[in-house]
Subunit: 211 residues, 2 copies
C-alpha cells in the first residue's frame, strides 16, 4: 500500500518527512494540503488530524503527525537512515530533538513571519529576537559539522534530514549558507545524495503558485 | 552504577529528565549545574557537553543530552513509562516532539525572559507573541485531555512527563492552570502519582537560592 503524506511545499517540517520517505525507498505519494487557503482548519482535515497539523502520514491504519515521529516510523519500517548501532540511534534522536527544540521551530516561525504574512504585520522585534536564537543554533551546527561529514556516523541519517529541513529554502529568514562553510559543505553533500530533491520539487505547492 | 543527571531546578527540560528517572525506579542522582553562574559555558562543562546544554545524563559510558532523548533512554533501560504497544510508543514520541516543537521550547524561553533577566531588558513584543503561541498549545492540550486521563493509553507515560515540564513552576509566564480545567485535573493526577516531586524538590537550585 502506498503511504500518503499530507503536506505542502512551503513546510520545512513536511519536507523532513517527505525527504525521509523519498530516501527510504518506500512507496509514497504526497497529498497537497492547502495550508494557506485554510485547509488544516476544515472539519474534513480535522478528521485526519484533530490538532490541525501538517505533515500527517497515513500508512494503512497508522496515522501519524510530527515530522520527527514520522521519520522514526519510516526508518523503522524501511530499515534505512536510522544509524547502525544503539549508540548511533540515540545520537540521531538527540539531534532530532535538538532540531525541533532549538532550530526548526524557530526557523519555521521566522520564515513564516518574514515571508507569508502581509508586510505591515511583521513583528520586527520578534523577528530580530528569533534571528539571534537561530544564530546560536547555526553556530552549534557549524561547530559540530566542522569535525565530520554527517551529524551521526558516516552516512546521511534522520539527524541530517531533520536539521536541513528549512535550510534549502530560498525565502529569507536570516540564514545565508555562504556565512557558514561547514554547513554549506554539508548541505551540498545532502543535495548530492542519490534521490535528493529540493522541497519545491518533492512536494506540491510553492510561493510561485500563489504569486 | 548510579546514573548522574547534570541539572538545575529552574530548568523544565531538566525536570522532564529528572522526573522520568525518579518515576522509572532507576538509581540516579542530580549533579547541580550553576547555569545562572555561567557553568555551562566553562571548558570543564564543555567536556561533558560540547554544546553547553543542560540537562546531560551520564550512565557509565553513555552521555546524552536533550530531555526527550534522555527520556527515551531511561524508558528503554527501565522498561517503564514507554507505553504498552508499538502504537502507544509512536503516540508517545509524537507528543514528545509536539512538546519540544510547540510548547516547552516557547514556555521555557518566555519564563526565562519574564523572570530571569533584568526587568528593563525584557522584550515585551517577544513575550506577548510567545504567549499567543503558548495559548494555542494550551488549547490543543486542553482539548485532548478533556477526552481522557492521560495523553497516551491509560497510565502516565513519557508524553505526560514531557508536556508537564514547565507547568508546575510558580514563576509567571502566561500559564494559569485554573483557566484550563482539563489540564488542571491532569496536573493533579500527575502530582498524585507515587514518587512525584515538584521540580524544586527533585533537583538542586531554585530562585530562592539566589534571592
Amino acid at each position: 500500500m502506498t503511504i500518503k503524506l499530507y503536506c505542502f511545499g512551503e513546510s520545512g517540517n513536511a519536507y523532513k518527512a517527505a525527504l525521509t520517505l523519498e530516501l527510504s525507498g518506500l512507496d509514497w505519494e504526497p497529498v497537497y494540503v492547502d495550508f494557506f487557503g485554510g485547509e488544516t482548519r476544515t472539519p474534513e482535515y480535522r478528521e485526519i488530524n484533530p490538532m490541525g497539523e501538517a505533515p500527517v502520514m497515513v500508512d494503512g491504519d497508522v496515522t501519524l503527525s510530527q515530522s520527527g515521529a514520522i521519520q522514526d516510523y519510516v526508518s523503522s519500517k524501511s530499515g534505512k537512515l536510522g544509524g547502525r548501532s544503539a549508540a548511533e540511534r540515540r545520537e540521531i534522536l538527540r539531534w532530532q530533538f535538538w532540531d525541533n527544540h532549538k532550530m526548526s521551530s524557530v526557523a519555521g516561525m521566522t520564515r513564516f513571519l518574514m515571508n507569508f504574512i502581509p508586510e505591515d504585520k511583521r513583528p520586527a522585534e520578534v523577528i530580530a529576537f528569533n534571528q539571534g536564537r537561530l544564530k546560536s543554533a547555526y553556530k552549534t551546527l557549524e561547530s559540530e559539522l566542522s569535525t565530520r561529514d554527517w551529524l551521526v556516523g558516516d552516512a546521511i541519517t534522520l539527524a541530517d534530514i531533520s536539521c536541513c529541513g528549512y535550510l534549502f529554502y530560498p525565502e529569507p529568514f536570516g540564514f545565508d549558507r555562504t556565512e557558514w562553510p561547514a554547513i554549506d559543505a554539508w548541505l551540498t553533500r545532502i543535495a548530492e545524495t542519490p534521490g535528493w530533491k529540493h522541497p519545491y520539487d518533492l512536494m506540491p505547492g510553492s510561493p510561485a503558485d500563489r504569486a
